[in-house]
Structure formats: structure tokens, C-alpha cells
Symmetry: C2
Subunit: 448 residues, 2 copies
């Protein structure tokens, strides 16, 4: 069997295009409608996707005028979706800056048990002062600080998930002994950001711990991914950039002493589908016509850390923007946007049109055949292990992809035709179940 | 229609009796088995209970030998149960000491939306140093400090739940305006324990906010309940104590300017059922025979804040125990246990037997008729608005109650025979939907 594609369905309210909610077909309250998400999850499962994914940030945007704002908390929503699906993985975004390790480790362990081993965690450090001010801080912590906290958070979470050996439950009714205290390992962690003394109050889960996913492509982000991540979501505009990113991340993973096959790289793609190329372009233009540019300017000014009113819709970006090193927010996204504008010499209006579709991810408008060709090319030429599918309009965009692109990928032998027996999410991604750090291999000396 | 009983099913792994897991019928891994909880939830719904409830604490007991330890995180488990049920309320315990208001308010809002308005929050301040040490503290915060934090937590959470007016979503597709920024009210809270600037990123929910439940019966606990709680769980050993508690709490509620009908008092009861009184007593003795007293002694020494090894199984409690005012842990539970032991002159062995059944809640062994009589007596004589049903063994104890006690309560006109149309949890408890604090009544001056 040839190497298999990994597909992740990135779900977002009425779709990834910021104007999608304005189309006649869209439900503007879809973001709080469980039935909408159940339909999407079942569609992705019909398409034998590996997983579905919810992005998140713990703040409301400064204005709710532009488009559907707010969202059900991802771990809560995915728990409900776990009961509505059987096979698909469930990846929730959660922040290391605004959670405590004990609570978050427990929630993921609970979801992993309830879903039969289908939980994944997209680890984010959460850029932005708005989030910080919802958690007692006056300003956003510095980028490097956020990543240092994230690394310690992961170390603590991994200790917590390993704090029960797999066979810690004895259940000897006759003797009145339920568990074996010798197989419980309290972390007794005292670090720079966290002190966590006791063992988790959930046994070790089907996967050991959730699939670890990461999406930041800054230097700090890539270093973090190489050390911890098992799947990486990334935004790449060209196959050349995507191949360079792919090669860089795999070699960093090797330098961390890990098997490069144990981290899967999934660029985002926004497929705008039509039965002809012209139909696809018309759909793209229809969406762009619905953008309210005023909102886009405000958003771009915040991203570029410019004063309000400094951008001219019909001019290019200012020449004197600061380098990425001076940005404390979402670094890799900053660079991607600036480079896209410079490379294609886009006016602010055109840049907003391009970003409106996928916030910097690759938008590909075409026939199902053309989209399948692009996917195959990136997949076979060292740019991707799979894709993060970001339909511009939901639910229709996911249904078009599953009904028209998935059959082509299956016919080419690139994607499973059925799930087969139930497995964990980690098994779907071709990854081994992690060993417990507190259990020594046979014959090895005790670690703790 | 006569005044109606409110029934809450307090679910706990294999049952409330600490030895229940040792019975042949019990599954020692029930605590992590979703199917077990789905079965319980559907049984309670068959019995037209108002709600079900999960207790919780963010720590693992110091030993897992005694009985099933750890539990799925309640909000996660209740979200899964929301999809398996239609009518029953879902009350999760969560701590004000070890959560941040933004995250917790959002999770409850998400559950309220997903369940169609069936969420409830049992507000706890979490006693004990073990929990504290899982969240960066060296020792448990003082009792009064925990309650001061809880009060501010509630104020912030209420601001967050009200931060969207009910009609903040405009959804004007033609004009490109999704939400009305004038109907979003960021808390801008700066307090002693919390600073929370922005609005919640979830719209106002079907209930406005979850039903607020409280269970501490200390002075601080009762003051808190009178101010905020809409339902109160309490442990009372005699009808006299229960009537005094009931009257005290209702009058405190009036002194807070609230309608005493808007707080429902539900004592806990552990029904040990048999088709004859002798059969019920035999079941009680069977359970008591399975207690491992060594564990009970350790637990009691911790509760009473005594050094290990200081209790004698066959003697009464020491005479020189400190007054409740010197206890920083679970104050009302401390007093209840000490008074029970003194009143009935129990040896430590007998005290452990009594506590093993319901941890201080009233155990009532008898026929279904006798249990229904006790419930009716307490309900009609000013001791209760309903009951927190705590079956000693699960699932069988809940099934016995629903099959044999519920029909008697229905025949006496004390309990609904069917749910009728879908309503919110707050409506089941006969409470009004709360007004939004940021919306002025017609004709009143603006508040903000």
C-alpha cells in the first residue's frame, strides 16, 4: 500500500471565509448549534478523515459586528461530538498560558477515555493582550516567556498522564484492595511556573495521553514542535516554502532524537470547489464581494501592530514595518502576511481579499480533479504528510470535498476507503502508544 | 396540584457505600465507564428526577487501595450525558479556589447551550491541602479566605454570563452586521482575587446561567448559600436538625432580600431498600461487613486533624477535640461527624460503619413504603423541598428506588408522572430565568 494521506477537518462556524456567514445558505447562529457540528463531524467521518479540529482563544474580539463571534468551548463541544461519532479523532485547542496543568491534563484524560482513545490537544500559547486581560494580567506575556511556560506545562502534563501505571487498578474484591499504591507516581513537580504535587485523579487513558499537536511556525514554535508535537498544522502559501518547512521540521525532530516519521506535517488548504474552474473562481469572487473591508483594515492594523487609521485600502503595506523579532504576538503569521503582500505587490484591499479566505492559508480554487492534483503533488513531493482541510463555507464546503475530492484520493490509493476496526487517534496517524516514563523497560534500572 | 418534591440523583461510581465496589454485582472500573453513567442517567430520567449530580475534588486520595479512586472530570462527563438524555438537569461540581472565572464560566455556558438549558453548578471552595498542592500552593487557603474568593468568583462569573444581552446577535446579512456591539458588556472587573476585562466568548445561554447549587453548611457556607444558591444540598441526621437548618436557611435568604421559594433545600438520603425491613437491614449489614476498617481510621484521623495512629477502633472519639472554629477544612462535615459520634456514643468502629454508608448523610434502611413515608414526612414537615438521593450501590440502588419508591411518591401526588414539554433545569426547580444585570427594565435609568 502506498503511503497514506492524513486528513484533518478544521471546523469553524459557517466556514473559514470571513464573509461565509452572509451567504443565503449560512446559519448565522451555527457557532452555538450542536446539530451543525454533529453534521460536520459525521460528514468528515463519512470521508474517513483522521480527525477534526477546533481552534480557540479565551477572549471575545473587540467587535462582534464583523462575523460570528464566540464559540462553544472546544473540549466541551468535542465531548458531545465524541458521542455522535465512532472513529474520527477529536483535536481541541487549549492554552498553556491560561490553564493550570492539573485541570487541563484531567480534562484531556477524561475526553480520551470517553471517546475510546480519540483525543488530541492542539497546544497553543495564546498571543494577544485581550486574552491576557481576562486572566489577571495587564499585558500579554513575551513570546519567549509563553514558550518557556508551555514547555514546563508539557513536562508536568506528561508526568500527570503517566502518574498511573496501566495496571494500577488491582480490583481484588476478596482482599478489599482496589488499587496498587506502588503503581501511582505523584509528579512532585516544583518548577519555575508550576508546582504540582499529586497524581492525576484519572487512570492512564487508552492513548496514554492525547495526540500532541502544534501549530506555531516561529522559531520558538518549531523548536517546541520538534520536541513534543506528533502532528503540526502550518500555513504555507507555496510548495517551495512548504517543502523547506517540512524538511526543516523533520531534521529538527531528528536532532531532538526522535523518529521523523513520528511527527506529521499538515499544511492548511482552503478548497474552493466548482464543477468547472470558472465556477470555482466565481464562488471565490462571490465570497470576496461579501467582505466588509473596514473590518479587515482594523484586523490587519492590529496584526501588524500599527495605529488605527494608518492603512490605505488602495495602497501597498508601508515599507518600514518592523522585523518579526520585534513582534510579541503571532510571529509566524505576521511574517507570512507581510511576505505575501510584498511578493505579490498586493494593495491592502487585495491583501484583505486574500486573507479573508483562509487567514494566510493556501486558498485553492478549482475542480475536484485540480484540488486532488494539488494535494497529491504536495504530498508526493516532500511538502506534506497530509492536509488540514479548511472549507470556506460550512457545511457545504466539507460536503463538496467529501463527495467529490475524497473519491479521487481514494481511487489514487492515497486515502483509506473505510476505517476498519476501531483504533485510537494516534494509531490513525501511524504513531506508537507512548511508554510510561515511570515504568522501566525489563532489565533496566529503576528510574524513580 | 400539591407542592411537588424535587429529586436529585447523586451519582458516584459503584455507589455511596464505600464498600459497594466489593459486592459481586459491582464493576470496579465503573468510575471510568461512560456506559455505566449513561445507564444511571437514563434510570434517573425514567424516575422523572429533576437532576443528577456529580461531586468532585481536584486531587487523588493518598491511597488508592481502599476503593475506586479518581473520576472523569464532571463537566466532561455531564456533556456526554447531555447527549444521552433529554430532560434531566446536569449538575457538576467545580471549585472556585482552583479555576479561573473566565474558563469556568465559559465551560458552564457551553454545557448549558449543548444541553438546551440543563446545566447546574455545585459551587465548592475545596477543602484540603492535597488539592492546594496540585495548584502551586503549599497549604490549603483559610476557610474564610476561600469563601471570600468564592464570592468574588461568583460576581465575576455573573458579569460574564450577562456580558451578552439576549438579543446581541443581529445577523443582518444584507448590511454585513453580525452582532450589536452596544449589547456586549465587558465586565472590566478589578478585584482582590481576579481581574477580568473582556466579555465572555459565548452568547447568553438558555438559562442565562447555570442553576447555582451549594452544599457547605458552615456559617460561611450558609451565608454564601443565602446570597447566591438556588438549590442547597445538605447532610442532616435527624428531622429536628433538618427543620432547624431549613428554617435558618430560608430566613437568611429573606434577609438577603430574596424570595425563600427561590432556594430549594435538599438533604441527602441513602436509601437501603429491601422488600421487607429485615431484608433491608441484612443488606445494610452485608455492606458494613465489607468495610476495611484500617482505611476508615486513616480517613477519620485526617478529617478530625489528628495524628496517624491516635484513634482506637473500639473506643469512643477522644474527649478533647477542637471546636469547629479551629478547623480550616470541611467545617460542617467535621461537626456533623463529631456530634453523631457523641449523640449515639459510637465507638470508632461503629462510627466508621455509619459513615461508610453515606459519609454523614442519613442512611435509611427499610421497605419502599417506609422510605416513601420518611421522604413524605420530612417534605411535609418543613425539613426539605426535596432530596438528594444517594444509593448505596449503583446501578442497582437507583433502579430499586425508581422502580419501587418513585411509584409510591407519584401515587401520593408528590412527584410528577412525566416530564411534559422540554424545559430548563431552573424551570424544573420552579425558579424564574434570571434578568440580565446590564439590561434596564423599561423606563428605568441606564445602569451602565
Amino acid at each position: 500500500m502506498p503511503r497514506q494521506l492524513h486528513l484533518n477537518a478544521f471546523l469553524m462556524t459557517t466556514g473559514h471565509h470571513e464573509a461565509s456567514w452572509r451567504l443565503p445558505e449560512s446559519d448565522p447562529s451555527a457557532h452555538v448549534d450542536l446539530a451543525h457540528y454533529v453534521r460536520l463531524a459525521r460528514t468528515a467521518e463519512r470521508g474517513t478523515f483522521d480527525s477534526l479540529f477546533l481552534a480557540d482563544g479565551p477572549q471575545l474580539w473587540s467587535s462582534v459586528a464583523q462575523r460570528p463571534a464566540g464559540a462553544l468551548e472546544p473540549l466541551t463541544l468535542l465531548t458531545a461530538l465524541a458521542t455522535a461519532t465512532e472513529h474520527i479523532g477529536l483535536i481541541a485547542t487549549a492554552s498553556t498560558s491560561y490553564n493550570s496543568p492539573y485541570n487541563l491534563a484531567r480534562k484531556f484524560a477524561s475526553l480520551d477515555i470517553i471517546s475510546g482513545g480519540r483525543a488530541g490537544w492542539n497546544i497553543v500559547t495564546t498571543a494577544g493582550a485581550e486574552a491576557a486581560r481576562n486572566f489577571g494580567l495587564d499585558a500579554e506575556p513575551a513570546h519567549a516567556e509563553r514558550y518557556a511556560r508551555a514547555a514546563e506545562f508539557l513536562d508536568v502534563a506528561l508526568k500527570l498522564w503517566d502518574s498511573w501505571e496501566d495496571d494500577a487498578i488491582v480490583a481484588d474484591k476478596a482482599a478489599g484492595v482496589w488499587g496498587d499504591d506502588a503503581k501511582i507516581h505523584p509528579p512532585r513537580h516544583r518548577g519555575r511556573y508550576f508546582s504540582v504535587e499529586g497524581a492525576l485523579n484519572v487512570p492512564r487513558t487508552p492513548q496514554g495521553y492525547p495526540l500532541l499537536v502544534q501549530a506555531g511556525s516561529s522559531e520558538d514554535g518549531k523548536a517546541f514542535a520538534a520536541r513534543y508535537a506528533e502532528a503540526v498544522f502550518t500555513a504555507q502559501q507555496t510548495i517551495e516554502d512548504a517543502r523547506a518547512f517540512y524538511a526543516d521540521l523533520k531534521s529538527r525532530t531528528v536532532r531532538e532524537g526522535r523518529d521523523p516519521e513520528h511527527v506529521k506535517v499538515l499544511p492548511g488548504i482552503v478548497p474552493v470547489l466548482g464543477s468547472t474552474e470558472a465556477e470555482a473562481r466565481a464562488q471565490e469572487e462571490l465570497l470576496e464581494d461579501h467582505i466588509v473591508h473596514r473590518h479587515g483594515v482594523e484586523h490587519l492594523e492590529r496584526l501588524l501592530q500599527l495605529p488605527a487609521g494608518s492603512l490605505d485600502l488602495d495602497a501597498e503595506l508601508p515599507a518600514d514595518l518592523p522585523p518579526e523579532s520585534e513582534i510579541e504576538g503571532a510571529k509566524s503569521r505576521y511574517t507570512l502576511v507581510v511576505e505575501l503582500a510584498r511578493r505579490e505587490r498586493l494593495t491592502v484591499r487585495r491583501l484583505i481579499g486574500r486573507l479573508g479566505g483562509g487567514r494566510g492559508h493556501l486558498t485553492f480554487a478549482g475542480t475536484p480533479e485540480q484540488v486532488a492534483d494539488a494535494i497529491e503533488t504536495w504530498f508526493t513531493q516532500g511538502a506534506a504528510d497530509g492536509f488540514n482541510i479548511m472549507p470556506p463555507v460550512l457545511p457545504s464546503g466539507l460536503e463538496l470535498f467529501v463527495d467529490h475530492v475524497v473519491p479521487l484520493l481514494r481511487a489514487r490509493g492515497l486515502l483509506r476507503t473505510e476505517y476498519g476496526p476501531r483504533t485510537t487517534l494516534r494509531q490513525r496517524y501511524g504513531l506508537p502508544r507512548p511508554a510510561n516514563q515511570y515504568v522501566r523497560p525489563a532489565g533496566a534500572p529503576a528510574l524513580v
